[in-house]
Every structure is written in structure tokens, then in C-alpha cells.
Amino acid sequence: MCLKHVPDTAANIRPLGGTAFDESVKFIMNPYDEYALEQALLIREGCPGAEIIAVTVGREAAASTLRTALALGADRAIHVRTEAYFTDPIETGRLLHQAISRDGSPDLILTGRQSIDTETMQTPYRLGVFFDMPVVINVVAFSMADGLVTVEREIEGDIREVIEMAMPCIVGATKELNQPRSATLPDMMKAKKKEIRVMTRADLGAAPGLPAVELLGLQAVPDRGQGRMLEGSPDAMAQELLHILRADHTL
């Protein structure tokens, strides 16, 4: 299963010019990847002997998220170590593919539907082409039998599609798929003994023409200021609001 080390959901991200930002914030496992890992753990409960390998592409600090995955129950981990924080999305897919292929042949690849930092929303699809496997993301229900995976994915509104895929395949998890467990202190101690295999970008060859998308810079998005407070009874406030919204053509 593929996961990413990202700033906490509540972290205040402060750009420092160019592509730099203040990284002295708390980092966590990408929230969507928690659902993917939990699904892997649930699958293993029903398939004794199954092995869960947590894989990430990231800098040295990303190892802490791999440790979390190991504490939660992953059997071992692979860390593709990079120098820069930001990696081209095609390159991320290529590195994951190379690292996973050198390790073995997965029957199933689970990951979150997207990361909450760069939000490129494409890694599962890139992996799909590199591995030549079918992909479904936004998965909220999962079952597996006889080499066939059946998932439900959210589409617009409160509608879900039921999709069947032949294994091996790639699943992008989202909230509602399951309830991720949390790790206990003994789990964390045990995780320290588990293996993290480190690979470097140089180990995995190079691809021409990348980056295909270059990050030029990050800009802060200031919050809008204090709102204009309306006054009076509920009816008076409602009427004033409609008056304002019509006057500025919002309505």
C-alpha cells in the first residue's frame, strides 16, 4: 500500500518564497491513506499469510509515517528517498512502480484517493498505467473473492457505482470505507524492529522529459477578513442579507 507523509490537517502552511514553506509543523500520515491501510489490515485478517508492504516516496522524515504504518500492522516498508519535498506526479508514479516491482508482484495496491498536500489526485492512475492494472478511486466499499474485486465508488450526489475489477488492481480509498484503528504503545515499540528498505532515486533509474509539471512557486491564501455583521431580528437580518446579495448580483 502506498502512503504519503504530509503536514497535519490543521497545520498553518507559511510559504517562504519560491517553492519553500515553513516545514516546522506537525506531519502525519495522509488521512486518505489511513483508510487504505485499514482496508489492507482487514483484508489480511481474512487472508492468513497475506503480507502488507507500506511504500512511500519522500524525504528522510517520511520514515516516521512508515513507522506509523508498521505500528498499525504493516509487515514491512519501502522508502524511496528523495531530496526535494515536491516530486513530479509522473515521477512519483514511476518511482513507486519501480520500487514495488523490484520488491515483488503485488496482488492488490491500495492507496488514498489523493494527498492533502499537493492534491495532484493522479498517483493511482499513473500506477495503473505503469503496472497495467485497472484503477478505481473514491472507493467507499470493498470486497474481494476469486480474483475479483468489487468496490463501490462515490460519484456525484449521493450516488455510488458498483464496479468489478480483475485482480491485480489498484484501489484509491476515501472516507467511509472503514474506521481506521489507532496504534498502541506496544505496537509502536514492535514497529521499531520491523524492516524499512531504503531505495534512492538513483537506484531506480531516470526517466527522460521529467518533470512534466514544474512547481514555480507557492503563494499564501489569506483568509478573508472579519465579516460584516448584520443586525436585528431574524426576519430583518434575512431580508437585509437578500437585499445585499441581490444588489451585488450574487443572487
Binding site: 509539471v213 431580528s233 434575512a238
Partner: protein, 317 residues
């Protein structure tokens, strides 16, 4: 002359409203030729709208597969084939759930650069702006190799009428298409109503709604406003609303013209999903609620009084 393809999404044979702004974005390159790409094989019902909003050519993509819509990989292969055939320099689409899925499949098949959820696009320079870190920053990104494949956040570019000839062309894709993955059916939840991520007006409730039943007052107001109803993570986790309605970091990102937050304190995780709304209105009985510090208009009071008052005021006219 740049050739710009636009993935046209339809609903019940009509062009989806969120697609019109994508056509407008495509027209920004004065030297561009805009191809409206339809996977729906019946372009007649849509062609007038597509012409009105700037399609130079309307491409009806036809396949031998009867149920191509059940095979997302087949749809992507057909679209990728059309990109090659018409030598498109750019493929644009709406970054809603459906468009995003197809664009990502096409980009991966072609090994082409892809940026989804763009807030701004410059089709001449190949520079786009999108959210990073859940809306706390934006990133400026430059695409290199062609075709550039871009998904634009629904409602980020307002549509504009710009009539063109809209010549209809038929493009047949031979296939065969992979069938290792297929849509077997759909399941409808009970939330109903339009989807928050594409709506032009959204009214959302937080934990203060108190129950699933109480969301009815938002639905009544929404039907007067032509709005979709959303919810916070707290309201979803409390079981008041399904996840499909969740706006925020682990839910959907919305960019409506008007966002009305009812009984929502205004966490950073919630703002991550709605801060690009044009106008934000907060209704809360706590005068210190963070929502009032970062909205356009604040209504201090009980949402169970203010929302019905709003519904009443709307129904008077």
C-alpha cells in the same frame, strides 16, 4: 494555432452547466481552435448550446461498444484516441468527480502532464494555479510536454456566450477496449438533491443542526435558493448527513457563488473545502465563532430562527 479539446459532460442529453465555463476557459487563447469532445453519440441535442459557448468543432466520438459508459477504461481510450487523431495541444475538462476520473485516465494513458482542480489557467503560457495544502496556499505550475491535460474546478471560470460555427464531426474509434473493469450498477443514497461540488449555491450545516431531521430546514431553504445542501465533518460523523454531502478536507471542495454556513464554527479543515467560494455567509449563535472572522457577512443568532426566516423571505417574492 493551438487546438484545444474540451471534454463535454452531459446529463440527460443536455450539456452540464459546469462544462460551459470550461468552454469559456478554452476560448481565452485568441489563436485557439476549440473542439468540443462528446462521448455521448447523439450530439444534436447539445450542439446549439456548444455553438453558443464557443465550440468551433463538435466531435461526436463513436465506438462499436454498446455500453461504453460502463467501461471507464474504454471511455478514456476513446478520448485519448481522439486527442491523437485531432492532434490536440490541450485537453480541458471539469474537475468534478466524473471529469477528474476521465482526465486522469487519459493523461496516464498518454504519459501527459496533468493538473486537476485548477483555479486559473493560462493556455498561452501553460501556467496554471491550483490549491496546495488544502487551500492554505496556491501553487503556480508550468506544464511542459504536450498535450497539457487540465481539470478546472467547477464554477472557477464563469461561462460567457461566444458563438461559433460548431461544425459537427463524427469520429469513430475502432477499439477493442479493455473490459477487465466494469460498472455493474448504481446505488442511490437517500440524500438526493444536486451535488455540492458542482452547485452554484451551497447551504451547509454543522454539528449544531442536532439531528438528520433538522437538515430538512436547510433543504427547504435550498430548494428556494436553487442550492445544494452540504455538511461539515462533525455533522457527517454524528450521522446527520451522508459523506457525499461533506464539505472540507476529507470531503468535497466547492467553489460556489454563495456559501451559507449554518451552525458551523469554521475550522481550518472545513475552510479547506469552501474558502474559494465567492461570497461566504456565516450563521452562528456564538459571536466568537471563527467563521465570523473570515466570512463576508455574519448573522449572529439561532440558525433555527434565521434559516426559516430566510426561506420565508425567499418565498415571498
Amino acid at each position: 494555432m493551438a487546438k484545444i479539446g474540451v471534454l463535454i459532460e452531459t446529463r440527460e442529453g443536455q450539456v452540464k452547466k459546469t462544462t460551459l465555463g470550461i468552454l469559456t476557459a478554452a476560448r481565452q487563447d485568441p489563436a485557439g481552435e476549440v473542439y468540443a469532445l462528446l462521448l455521448d453519440p447523439h450530439p444534436e441535442a447539445c450542439s446549439e448550446t456548444l455553438k453558443q459557448y464557443g465550440a468551433d468543432r463538435i466531435v461526436a466520438i463513436r465506438t462499436k461498444e454498446q455500453n461504453i459508459s460502463s467501461f471507464p477504461e474504454g471511455q478514456a481510450a476513446a478520448l485519448a484516441s481522439a486527442c491523437d487523431h485531432f492532434q490536440l495541444d490541450v485537453l480541458l475538462g471539469s474537475s468534478g468527480l466524473a471529469g477528474r476520473d476521465l482526465l486522469a485516465r487519459v493523461a496516464s494513458l498518454k504519459g501527459a502532464p496533468l493538473v486537476l482542480d485548477c483555479l486559473q489557467v493560462d493556455l498561452v503560457k501553460g501556467v496554471v494555479r491550483k490549491s496546495h495544502f488544502s487551500g492554505r496556499t496556491t501553487a503556480e505550475l508550468k506544464l511542459s510536454a504536450r498535450p497539457w491535460i487540465l481539470g478546472i474546478r467547477p464554477n472557477a471560470v464563469p461561462e460567457r456566450v461566444d458563438p461559433r460555427l460548431g461544425e459537427i464531426i463524427e469520429y469513430k474509434v475502432a477499439g477493442p477496449f479493455p473490459k477487465r473493469m466494469a460498472i455493474r450498477g448504481i446505488r442511490k443514497g437517500d440524500a438526493g438533491g444536486p451535488d455540492v461540488s458542482e452547485a452554484e449555491i451551497v447551504i451547509s450545516g454543522g454539528r449544531a443542526m442536532g439531528s438528520a431531521e433538522n437538515f430538512q430546514i436547510l433543504r427547504e431553504c435550498a430548494s428556494r435558493l436553487g442550492a445544494a445542501v452540504g455538511a461539515t465533518r462533525a455533522a457527517v460523523d454524528a450521522g446527520y448527513a451522508p459523506h457525499s454531502m461533506q464539505v472540507g478536507q476529507t470531503g468535497k471542495t466547492v467553489s460556489p457563488r454563495l456559501y451559507i454556513a449554518c451552525g458551523i464554527s469554521g475550522s481550518v479543515q472545513h475552510f479547506a473545502g469552501m474558502k474559494t467560494s465567492k461570497v461566504i455567509v456565516g450563521i452562528n449563535k456564538d459571536k466568537d465563532a471563527p467563521i465570523f472572522q473570515k466570512c463576508d457577512y455574519g448573522l449572529l443568532g439561532d440558525l433555527f430562527e434565521i434559516v426559516p426566516a430566510l426561506t420565508k423571505a425567499l418565498s415571498k417574492e
